[in-house]
């Protein structure tokens, strides 16, 4: 088994795709010479040259707008926002333009682009460098939304994103880049399929991105105490595979959604509501939401940690869920 990091898997997907498809260009701040703030595009300038790996000025709105225009005319841009927090500067281009162009123009023009960024806590980045903003994009019709948790998914989801004809928001987690794992090149679950990462019949934990690993660790501990949790990794938030989730909840009767984004009106609200809608008759307890606190992220490492779910809290919450 060869071990690869999440970061390398992403780079591999970009590289393999660019070798295959000459219309792919990368643009963003520091993606070239610097190799990306988190090193994802390191070495790619050397292989693909300045025409295809493009350092931009610090102009988020025009980075995304340029990607939109390029995508409309025949390129397949991969635009990078260094932190997802900066999407606040490009929401018009993402939401009012990229996501709506196919629709507004009656299906004439697609916008095949990938917007890569990274979010989440873990580096004391404070309130403007640690957010998880995927709920905004999930709420925007016209966008695909992928949030890989594993090395293999980092590769395959990005590969697939680079074949779609619509905009894909591709959100990585800053805490996963150095994570190692096996990259299984042959296997690829279809786009939009959730993956059951661990089987279990007592309760269902639904998650994505970094929190999947927290759930798996928690499930291991719970197992020692006789509780078998099923862990589902959504992989993409659009399309959203509720079938896999509902099937599991129909067996366990107990569900908990674990996300890093702020709880109120976040992703866990949607998943929770959907579980109720699709598996109401099976639910023995309300679906629980273990999400980020409804606060800006504080810089203090201790407070930061406390502001999002931890393995311990997943364990204790699962026990509460299982108590009767």
């Amino acid at each position: 088994m060869t071990e690869t990091t999440y970061r390398e898997a992403l780079r591999q997907a970009l590289t393999d795709s660019m070798r295959r498809d000459p219309s792919i260009v990368i643009l963003g701040e520091e993606v070239g010479k610097y190799g990306g703030a988190y090193g994802v595009t390191k070495g790619m300038l050397e292989e693909f040259g300045e025409a295809r790996v493009r350092d931009t000025p610090i102009s988020e709105e025009v980075i995304v707008g340029t990607a939109v225009g390029a995508a409309m005319t025949g390129l397949r841009p991969v635009a990078e926002l260094m932190y997802v927090d900066f999407v606040t500067l490009a929401m018009d281009q993402l939401v009012n333009q990229a996501a709506k162009i196919r629709y507004m123009f009656g299906g004439q023009i697609g916008v095949p682009m990938v917007l890569r960024s990274q979010g989440g806590t873990g580096r004391s980045g404070a309130a403007q460098h640690s957010q998880s903003l995927e709920a905004w994009m999930m709420h925007t019709p016209g966008l695909h939304l992928a949030m890989p948790s594993t090395v293999t998914d980092a590769y395959h989801l990005l590969m697939h994103a680079l074949t779609l004809h619509d905009p894909v928001v591709f959100l990585e987690h800053k805490g996963l880049y150095t994570m190692k794992g096996e990259l299984k090149p042959e296997r690829a679950l279809p786009w939009g399929k959730a993956e059951v990462r661990r089987k279990g019949g007592d309760c269902t934990l639904v998650s994505y991105s970094r929190m999947v690993h927290f759930c798996l660790d928690a499930a291991d501990s719970l197992s020692k105490e006789g509780i078998e949790a099923e862990v589902i990794d959504l992989r993409t938030l659009h399309p959203l595979d509720m079938d896999t989730v509902s099937e599991s909840v129909s067996r366990t009767g107990k569900a908990m959604v674990v996300t890093e984004d702020c709880l109120t009106a976040g992703v866990s609200a949607e998943i929770s509501a959907r579980i109720m809608e699709e598996a109401f008759d099976f639910l023995e307890e309300p679906v629980l939401r273990l999400s980020g606190e409804d606060i800006p992220i504080p810089v203090s490492p201790e407070l930061e940690k406390g502001s999002v779910p931890s393995v311990d809290r997943i364990i204790s919450t699962a026990k509460m869920l299982m108590r009767r």
Binding site: G69, M72, D92, Q93, Q97, H144, H165
Partner: protein, 343 residues
């Protein structure tokens, strides 16, 4: 240009200018008759020369985006007035099947990358189109049309900078009609030195009086030559918005004298005068063109009136590539969760 060429060009320009004017008048009628989709209709009467002059200098393969006041620009590009009018009416035979409307007309074939209802929203798209042309279709240019109001949107300056930095074949055309809604340009911008400003972002820049379509054409042509070589440019076309901001606005914030003066900047009258005075054509020949255009536009109007509304289920189409994912209708979802059969 030889005199003969100029003469023919003049007549072509005249027809185009008149087409824009009369098209907009018909849009206005459609509105009055309750036939448009909504009231967010922005007529480009008074700005015809900007549309016709710049478009005259563009080539097949060039791409462009427009602002919300873009009917004339698209028409000058060769749009089918029937499909335009139908789109403005929100009908299924419109350019966007009744989904976009006046502010979101587009046509891939003609290189129209979209009208935009966000002031400044389409400007950066031409930077991207310019990038595509630089990499794949050398020689093509991408042109953004926008109003004077967009001069106050930051994205314009980000776009100028990136175009200059990457030497993209991009032209920024400010259709200056002196107003952004009720705000006169000098109440929106502290400085009016827009050309100088564009130069400090690394662009070529020029200004032209929008009364004279030939001038607009010539300036555009000159700039576009450099643009195609990778020197992005900025062009300001000065004109006046003859009517209100949108169809319902009577411009109470403007005084009459100013409006009268402003409406003298009439590119059609100006060109007609020149055509006749130069002895190129007779008044009657001009009149004949006007009549022809009227008929063309009446037909467009009739077409729009009689065209069908889009079918209710089309609502769910075109959100995504049809090969992939589709919206889950709200009612289906509810029925599913209640274990009821689908309607």
């Amino acid at each position: 240009m030889t005199d003969q060429q100029e003469k023919q060009q003049a007549l072509r320009f005249f027809r185009q200018l008149v087409r824009v004017r009369i098209f907009e008048e018909r849009v206005s009628e459609l509105f009055v008759q309750g036939g448009t989709a909504g009231s967010m209709l922005h007529l480009s009467i008074g700005e015809e020369a900007g549309a016709v002059g710049v478009m005259g200098a563009m080539r097949e393969g060039d791409g462009f985006t427009t602002h919300h006041r873009g009917h004339g620009i698209f028409l000058a590009r060769g749009a089918d007035p029937k499909k335009m009018m139908a789109e403005i009416a929100g009908k299924s035979t419109g350019y966007c099947r009744g989904k976009g409307g006046s502010m979101h007309i587009a046509d891939r074939g003609l290189g129209h990358l979209g009208a935009n209802a966000i002031v400044g929203g389409g400007i950066s798209h031409v930077v991207g189109a310019g990038l595509t042309y630089q990499m794949k279709h050398h020689g093509n240019a991408a042109v953004a049309f926008f109003g004077d109001g967009a001069m106050q949107q930051g994205v314009l300056y980000e776009s100028m900078n990136l175009s200059a930095l990457w030497k993209l074949p991009v032209m920024f055309v400010c259709v200056n009609n002196e107003y952004g809604m009720g705000t006169r340009l000098d109440h929106a911008s502290a400085s009016l030195e827009f050309e100088k400003r564009a130069e400090t972002f690394g662009l070529l820049a020029a200004e032209v009086d929008g009364i004279d379509v030939f001038e607009v054409y010539n300036q555009s042509k000159n700039l576009l030559e450099d643009v195609r070589k990778g020197n992005p440019a900025f062009l300001k076309v000065n004109s006046y918005r003859f009517h209100g901001h949108a169809r319902m606005d009577k411009s109470p914030y403007r005084d009459q004298q100013e409006e009268e003066e402003g409406r003298k900047k009439d590119a059609i009258a100006f060109l007609r005068d020149r055509i006749v005075k130069s002895g190129w054509y007779q008044e009657t020949e001009c009149d004949a063109i006007v009549e022809e255009v009227k008929q063309e536009m009446d037909e467009a109007l009739n077409h729009a009136r009689n065209a069908a509304d889009p079918g209710a289920d089309e609502m769910y189409e075109d959100v995504f590539d049809p090969q992939t994912t589709k919206p889950f209708p709200v009612d289906s979802r509810i029925r599913e969760s209640l274990h009821l059969p689908q309607a």
